[in-house]
C-alpha cells in the first residue's frame, strides 16, 4: 500500500487533509495532490498558479493555506484596470497637487512619501515600511501618514500568502509585468522615491511568502509567465467529496439531504454542458445547502416546489 505524502512545509495533517473550521477561518478539504503541489511551491519559492472551473475553491485555497500556516493573507482581485503600479506602489498625484495648492502661505510641503500608496507586493515584501509609506515611523506619525495593515493578519504576522485573484481578467500585459516582482522578489519604486536610500523594495530575508495566482482560463497566459509557476489544476469534485466538504461546513446538517443534493451534481454538470452554461461549483453547492438548512427546505421533484426554485436560483441559474 502506498504511503501518504507527509508534507514538509505545509502544516496540514496527512491523516485527513482537513483544515477544520475555526473562529477565523472556514474549513477546507485538501488532498494529497494539493498538499504535494503547495509543498513544491513552498520548497522552490515559486508562485503557485491555481486553475479550475469557477467556484471550485481556488481562491479559498489561498485562505486555507494562510490559515494552516498561520500566515497573513493579502489578496486582490484583478480587473481590466489593474496594473503593475497598483500592485507595487503608486503615487496619489491628485492629492499631492491639491495639498500643494491649498496649503497656507509660508507652510512647508508634506514629504513626497506621504503620497505613496503601497500596493500588495510592498505589504508582502516589507510590511513594516509599507505601514509608514517608507518613512520613519516618527515622521509618518507627524504627518498622520501611517496606514492600517492591508490584509488579514495571521499568528506569524510577517509571513504571508499573497493572493492575486483572477489574473485572466487583467489586461494581457500584466502577467508579463509581474515577472520581476515574482521572480526577483523586488520591484522599483516610482521615479524620485526612495525607501531607506534604496529605489526599490525587496522581500525581507526573514519573511516567508507564497504567492497564489488563480485563473479561470478565460484568457491565455503568456508562456514565460506559466513557465515560472508551479501549476495546480483543481478538478470538479465528485459527489462523495462534495458530501465530505459540506459536512465540514455544516456539521449538524441533514446528511440525507446533503447527499441527495450532491448526487444531483453530475446531472447538473451534464445539463449545464449541454446548454453551454457554466456548471455549478462548490460555492453554489454550499449556498444551496445553506439555504435548505436555514429554511428547512426538503428536496422535491415537483415543479412548483420551493426546492425547485432554489435549484434554479442557486444551482442551475437557467431561468431569470
Amino acid at each position: 500500500m502506498n504511503k501518504l505524502y507527509q508534507p514538509k512545509h505545509l502544516k496540514i495533517p496527512s491523516a485527513d487533509w482537513i483544515l477544520e473550521a475555526s473562529e477565523n477561518n472556514q474549513p477546507y478539504v485538501f488532498n494529497e495532490t494539493i498538499a504535494i503541489v503547495v509543498d513544491v511551491a513552498l520548497a522552490t519559492h515559486r508562485p503557485l498558479l491555481v486553475s479550475g472551473n469557477p467556484g471550485c475553491g481556488k481562491s479559498r485555497l489561498a485562505d486555507a493555506i494562510a490559515a494552516v500556516q498561520g500566515w497573513s493573507l493579502l489578496s486582490m482581485t484583478m480587473t481590466s484596470r489593474t496594473r503593475l503600479e497598483s500592485l507595487t506602489a503608486e503615487v496619489d498625484q491628485l492629492r499631492r497637487l491639491h495639498d500643494a495648492q491649498a496649503r497656507p502661505e509660508n507652510s512647508a510641503l508634506k514629504p513626497d512619501a506621504c503620497y505613496l500608496k503601497p500596493g500588495l507586493f510592498w505589504w508582502a515584501f516589507q510590511p513594516e515600511t509599507a505601514r509608514f509609506r517608507g518613512m520613519d515611523p516618527s515622521e509618518a506619525e507627524t504627518y498622520q501618514a501611517h496606514l492600517p495593515y492591508r490584509g488579514i493578519q495571521g499568528k506569524e504576522k510577517s509571513h504571508a500568502v499573497l493572493l492575486i485573484d483572477e489574473i485572466d481578467k487583467a489586461e494581457p500585459d500584466l502577467p508579463n509585468d509581474l515577472l520581476e516582482p515574482l521572480d526577483q522578489k523586488q520591484f522599483d519604486l516610482p521615479d524620485g522615491f526612495q525607501v531607506h536610500d534604496k529605489t526599490y523594495i525587496k522581500l525581507s530575508e526573514n519573511i516567508q511568502l507564497l504567492t497564489v495566482i488563480t485563473t479561470n482560463g478565460e484568457r491565455e497566459l503568456p508562456q514565460a509567465f506559466l513557465r515560472r509557476c508551479v501549476l495546480l489544476r483543481l478538478p470538479d469534485p465528485e459527489p462523495d467529496k462534495l458530501v465530505e466538504i459540506a459536512l465540514k461546513h455544516f456539521p449538524k446538517g441533514n446528511q440525507a439531504r446533503i447527499k441527495a443534493i450532491a448526487d444531483k451534481f453530475p446531472d447538473f454538470r451534464v445539463e449545464a454542458k449541454s446548454q453551454s452554461r457554466r456548471p455549478p461549483g462548490i460555492s453554489e453547492f454550499l449556498d444551496a445547502i445553506n439555504a435548505c438548512e436555514q429554511c428547512g427546505i426538503e428536496i422535491s421533484e415537483k415543479d412548483d416546489s420551493v426546492w425547485k426554485k432554489i435549484e434554479n436560483a442557486v444551482l442551475i441559474k437557467g431561468k431569470t
Binding site: N2, K3, Y5, Q6, P7, K8, E32, T33, I36, V37, D39, V40, A41, A43, T44, R46, S51, G52, S80, E85, E90, Q93, L94, L97, H98, D168, E171, P172, E180, D183, Q184, K185, Q186, K202, G217, E218, R219, E220, P222, A224, L226, R227, R228, V230, L231, L232, R233, K264, D267, F268, E271, A272, Q275, S276, R277, E301, N312, I316, G318, K319
Partner: protein
C-alpha cells in the same frame, strides 16, 4: 540586484525532489507534473470552439431533470364479437395456378456481390504554418484590437495648461492607454474562394479568444457579403450581426480567389464600412493575399492588414497607433 531566476528548470525539480519527503513514484510524478516536467499536460484542457459564441444566447431553456418514466402498460383492446356466419358453406369459384412465374434458372451475378461499406481513409494531417504564427499572433492581434481609454499616466501638457489657467482639478488629466476590455466581433468569410483558408479561419477564432478572452468574442460567419454575417446562438437560432461599439475584425479575400481584385468591390463592403463608421466601431480587415491584389476604393476607415506570417505587431501599430479611438 539579484539575478533573475528565470523559468522553472531542472534545478527546481532537483531541489524539490531533494528537499521534499516523497515516498513513491506517484508522489514524485506529481512533483514533476506541477513543475511542468510531467508527461501529462498540467494546464487545463482547452474547450472546443465552434463558429458561434457559446457564452451568449438570448433565452436558455430552463433545466428540467429527467424523471424516470414508468414502463408502459399494454391493455389489449376490447374486440367486438365476430359476426355470426351462415350455416351453409359455399364452394370456391377460383382456380389455382401451378406457377405464377417461370423458375429462375440462374440468379444474376450482382445478387451475390458483397457490398463493402465505404472505408474512410486515414489522411495524414500535414503540418501547416498558421498565417499568424504562435509566437507573434498575440502581439499582432492585441495591437489590432486594442482601443484607447483614459489611463493612469499624467498628461503633463494638459496638467500644465490647467495650472496656468488656475483651474480647480477634479481629476487628473491622464494620457490614454491601450486596452482590450471591449473585446471584438469576428466576421469570418466562409465563401468558396476562402476554402484554402478555412483552417486558418478556425485557428483565428482560437487565437482571438486567447488574446481578448473567449467570453469577449462574438464569432459570425458569412458568404461573400459581410453585412449578412450570422451565427448560431446557444438556443439554435440564427442571429444576424449588428455593429455593437466594439472592434470588428474581418477575415476575407474579397472573393478574389488569389486573382487580381475587381475594379469595383461589392457594395456590401461599403455597407459594412458605413455601419462601422456610423457606430464608431474600429474595423480591421485581414486579407490572406498580398497588398497588390487588395480592392481599391474602400476609403481610409477600415485598416487592411496582410494576414501573413510576415506581418508584425509593429506594422499594425504603425497603421493604428496605440489603440483605436472610440467615441
Amino acid at each position: 540586484m539579484e539575478k533573475m531566476r528565470g523559468e522553472i528548470h531542472l534545478g527546481d525539480f532537483a531541489q524539490a525532489l531533494a528537499s521534499l519527503p516523497w515516498q513513491n513514484d506517484d508522489q514524485a510524478q506529481a512533483i514533476a507534473a506541477c513543475l511542468g516536467f510531467g508527461l501529462a499536460p498540467s494546464l487545463p484542457p482547452k474547450p472546443n470552439e465552434g463558429i458561434y459564441d457559446r457564452h451568449s444566447y438570448s433565452q436558455p431553456t430552463p433545466y428540467k431533470p429527467k424523471l424516470p418514466t414508468p414502463p408502459p402498460v399494454f391493455i389489449p383492446p376490447v374486440l367486438e364479437p365476430p359476426p355470426t356466419l351462415p350455416p351453409t358453406k359455399l364452394e370456391s369459384q377460383v382456380d389455382s395456378w401451378q406457377t405464377l412465374a417461370p423458375p429462375i434458372e440462374k440468379s444474376p451475378d450482382w445478387l451475390g456481390e458483397k457490398h463493402e461499406s465505404v472505408q474512410t481513409i486515414n489522411e495524414t494531417k500535414i503540418a501547416r504554418l498558421s498565417l499568424f504564427p504562435e509566437q507573434t499572433h498575440r502581439h499582432i492581434l492585441a495591437a489590432a484590437l486594442a482601443t484607447r481609454r483614459i489611463g493612469h499616466d499624467i498628461d503633463l501638457p494638459k496638467l500644465m495648461a490647467s495650472l496656468c489657467r488656475r483651474e480647480v482639478l477634479t481629476q487628473l488629466p491622464c494620457r490614454p492607454e491601450a486596452s482590450l476590455e471591449r473585446g471584438c466581433d469576428l466576421l469570418l468569410d466562409y465563401s468558396p474562394s476562402m476554402v484554402p483558408f478555412w483552417e486558418d479561419l478556425n485557428g483565428l477564432i482560437e487565437q482571438v479568444g486567447r488574446v481578448v478572452g473567449a467570453a469577449n468574442v462574438r464569432v459570425f460567419g458569412f458568404d461573400t457579403r459581410p453585412t449578412e454575417a450570422k451565427r448560431w446562438t446557444g438556443d439554435g437560432k440564427l442571429q444576424g450581426w449588428q455593429v455593437q461599439k466594439r472592434p470588428v475584425l474581418v477575415a476575407t479575400d474579397f472573393g478574389i480567389s488569389g486573382l487580381q481584385c475587381r475594379a469595383e468591390s461589392d457594395p456590401a463592403w461599403h455597407g459594412l464600412i458605413a455601419d462601422c463608421t456610423k457606430d464608431g466601431s474600429p474595423l480591421v480587415i485581414l486579407i490572406p493575399w498580398p497588398e497588390d491584389r487588395w480592392p481599391k476604393g474602400l476609403g481610409g476607415y477600415p485598416k487592411l492588414a496582410h494576414w501573413s506570417p510576415r506581418t508584425t505587431a509593429a506594422m499594425v501599430k504603425r497603421q493604428i497607433g496605440p489603440g483605436h479611438w472610440m467615441r
